[in-house]
Symmetry: D2
Subunit: 348 residues, 4 copies
């Protein structure tokens, strides 16, 4: 077995820490440089006490020099910083950006939703994304750049794309409301992310359509087959550290019944190693996905309303970020897609 | 000031306990008999240790005899039991049912959603409900029976009714997704309500349209002015003891802008003591309503999607149950509507 | 009834917010100036959305000018700032300091545990503190300065002082371990106080005897009758917004049995309005004290070990801070001690 | 590599589920029969939705017949049931009891603390337990029965035994207070274990010395070298699903300083793969151990009090139950002790 050397930039953050947690179980990876910004010079154990085998590793500054010389570099950086560092790394390095900079294909969308100039589009790291008659995984072999999808985008795309691709719903009237754990908001201290504020409370954020995840969802569902996509998207913070529970509803096309819906989801996901349609009567819980690279999905038809209701659960840091990133890395490097990734959650 | 004597049936449960918590601050109430089923004979303090002034009260069995002789009787009973006991109490007693038995006007709806025979319709205890040109409070003066609304119903109705009543949205394509605290599921131990299962997890329940709260929402919004109502309704359990955060979206009527929406909400609620439209830019959090008889509401327009998004937050046990019940009691007895009720939440 | 005008400095913080929450239910108080540091000029509703009646109040800067002209001024300021502002207010104003600056009698202790110069000692605001044959409340009538005790100190002192005062335990071998909610750590954002870090986790802080609350506990228990006090004190953060559960153990004096212990606690607390010895077999839970000015206490004897185990529960923001402060204010002003304070918790 | 076939009795419970979660990552294990009591006949996925690879496995009844024919049988049964079923399995099967039945060496202790007749003593599955000059792991090679320690016992023993074994503290005055997650209380629904009751609350249980874990702690520390052991032991429930944070204090022997203590802990644990003394200044958090077979330990000396304070953190279901059980299984079967076990926690 070839050994792959990997560097992680932003190793003191949540995305970087989760990449490391998972890489420690990857049989072909040797973990190289770990870098950070203000934490450079300190031991990783002070920031990520759960990563016991790496506790004594000293963080280096995030520069092209410290990151050079590895086969793969994961970037867990504030948005806007990935492009410059990737440019210095050359195309013999696989650079995997856990941030948003290179997800969108449309520079106009970028400027509208994020502001500033678009850093360019990289191959999109959602292997299960339905693209025409195939999947996004078909486009990931041998690439040297990967843009990791947003976590909310992953939850919603996996939840609704089989229905969209099969023409069972109208993609022009989607409504998604999400219950989100706090780690999705990152590790930088902010008043509304304090434990005192979050414990025992639920509150929305980014309401009303300007959320940056919206154009990415639209981009995905158009690839999956929708002519046009409109989606109302409301994330809410609830008192858990990890997890996304996405409830997505869509108006049913005429004559569609539950059997047709389940058949479409089975066709889409029965061969997927990480996306699971639950048996009828069982509903997803984020607890079942904690720490695992899985999405759990269930569907229902609300006959009175003429709507499909899909509930999907993921761990935002795993299938929503670091696990999906490693799955894409495996594909880019020609490894079996599931190498080093687990479907087993940690519950209760 | 007249003193009102009150009995509470089901005093060991969550609804009964919350009625008592609030009544202890009501200046005209004297708390009389407290009754329970299997807990009869034990002290209230063993079941409700937070109700210090009543800790030594011994629970009596729930019978017409123990409940008789009070001005007001609150019922916090399993569904199906309120009708019989109310029949024995006579119409000189104000009976307030915190359960579902008498909420629906349509016996057919009852049979379809709850099964069994309908126990009859009682005056509906949501004072702020818009009914034609007036409010439901106009119908509550002097009544001797009150059906307390469901907590999810209250959150959604208060959230969307101003837009429905003003014709700003199409009531035929409503979608509501709720984050719910566990106390809404009652005090009876069940596997999925255990702390081990709930801590760190989000999961849906009652997905797909057959939820018993749906016909009650439809009934309310028709009273508020909708010709026809269809609503997709998905509650989800999140790790908090109390609170409902309801995200309700509806397709906007042509030409409606945010100013029109805010004007309608201000017109509807500026004079309401317990329902508050937040300033622009501030979003509801359930934490702000904990223990208080308030609803906090915010609205946004998602221009791309053509939808109104309303987020409403309540404490399911207060504005969603016991507080609303006492507010209706005040109206029935001719007291000022706000007597003994607080708008001040307990946060953080 | 006389009306008392009250100003609150630090109104955007947790202590200031809780003082306001409770004052809103005080029948004789009119709330005057609300001040803050960096938040001056903004509306209180943006910081304390649960304080509905004060939502539109604009915060003024914290200066002697804005605070002057009130009967009472509560200070919820960073430590080190109370002395200067109090000096400017004059002795016709009752100044109540929720911070630590004036709690300790010993300037040496201050310098050792806090550093810097001692700002002087103010009358200590723990009315139930046993002082010789009387109580600290006896010393609070008519005072113009009050130092509010620390929240952990309150929990431990109320828990163990009856046994110490009655000579039932050796005060030289006390061990206290506390489970603490996050609001006790204040509202300033810090990495270890983030929701992501705190949810699902327990961790200690300030281990090993240098905690600033230790000399204050020692001071209290010496007043209660101990010749000498040594206490091992370990607070731990657990995932709740409010609450302290203190487990305090002490070696029993020879021949002491449970009956003697319960008798001493009954003698100490049966007449106290806010401190409750629970019936045998019932243990405190912080949930029962949420929002209430109560302490719940239970005792056990561990016969094998020869130790008394006392568990006490309080709400750190109420009996541990703002409630105790108002109780002391009542005493200083000659009002009934319980005015405006509730014993009723908000549970579940 | 030899393949080991394993059956799990009580597979629908928390202990059984965690054994399975970990065994799924064990490279030499093939999972055979899964059994349950009332859940027999149902699919495992309905009870343990996180164990995706086993979702379709049907639970069989727990009998000697269904469990026979495996190399190893794990028992996660209500206490009192292990002895009978083990007797039927024969001594060519390694039987590992996650319950309490066979932990104690003294039949008198059993009868006093548990009641009923003692089922006999099995080799004790805490490999790191210091026994004279060696460790308990030395006694586990080739055994056919293993009694898995209690989770609280593991946390306290690992925390304090180096100090006891080295004679640095007096074992006759130990005080331990624990913050416990709810999964330690098992999966059977009980009123005080409901999410509504547990969220936002801390409360003690089993206070006062009669807790069943006490004689087991005493037994361990006597093996580690104490002449006599007395320990005050108070567990408290806090709002987390998993985790134990144990604060254990002991009076220091004369002349012992921090350097001596750290030296003793380093000597005891530097070669242990799963027990980690943290660097000075870093304190354990249960979050760092979630899902991992690790204990994190930190020590401090409280000079004023003359006490050592040790804080130890484990995941009650892993190092406290299932992970320790598999570690012992590895030793019994002659496999490397760490096979299939991870030191990497899942955080945040």
């Amino acid at each position: 077995m070839t050994t792959i050397t990997v560097a992680v930039a932003g190793a003191s953050g949540y995305a970087g820490g989760e990449v490391l947690r998972l890489l420690l179980s990857h049989p072909q990876v040797r973990i190289g440089a770990l870098t950070a910004a203000s934490s450079a010079g300190t031991a990783l154990g002070a920031h990520q006490p759960h990563l016991v085998p790496l506790a004594d590793r000293v963080l280096q500054p995030t520069t092209a020099e410290t990151l050079a010389g590895h086969d793969v570099v994961f970037l867990g950086l504030p948005h806007g910083q990935s492009g410059a560092i990737a440019a210095e790394l050359g195309d013999d390095v696989l650079v995997i950006d856990c941030g948003a900079d290179h997800r969108l294909r449309s520079a106009d969308d970028w400027t509208e939703f994020y502001g500033g100039e678009h850093a360019g589009t990289w191959p999109y790291g959602l292997p299960e994304l339905i693209v025409g008659a195939g999947h996004q995984r078909d486009a990931l072999g041998g690439v040297d750049r990967i843009a990791v999808p947003g976590c909310n985008v992953t939850a919603i795309t996996l939840g609704i794309q089989p229905a969209v691709a099969a023409g069972l719903v109208e993609a022009t009237d989607l409504v998604a409301v999400l219950a989100n754990g706090y780690s999705g908001a990152g590790k930088a201290p902010k008043p509304h992310l304090m434990a005192s504020e979050g414990l025992g409370a639920a509150s929305p954020y980014g309401v009303g359509g300007t959320h940056r995840h919206v154009p990415e969802i639209m981009q995905n569902l158009r690839l999956a087959g929708a002519d046009e996509v409109t989606i109302s998207f409301t994330p809410t913070l609830v008192p858990m550290a990890r997890g996304i529970l996405a409830t997505t509803t869509a108006r049913l096309a005429a004559g569609v019944d539950l059997e047709a819906v389940r058949a479409a989801y089975r066709a889409a996901y029965d061969d997927e190693p990480f996306v699971h349609l639950l048996p009828e009567g069982q509903w997803p819980t984020t607890a079942a996905t904690l720490g695992a690279n899985t999405a759990q999905i269930q569907v229902a038809i609300d006959r009175r309303v003429g709507r499909l209701v899909v509930v999907s659960a993921i761990d935002n840091l795993v299938k929503g970020t670091a696990g999906g990133a490693i799955q894409s890395m495996n594909l880019a490097l020609g490894l079996p897609e599931t190498t080093g990734l687990s479907t087993i959650g940690t519950a209760p």
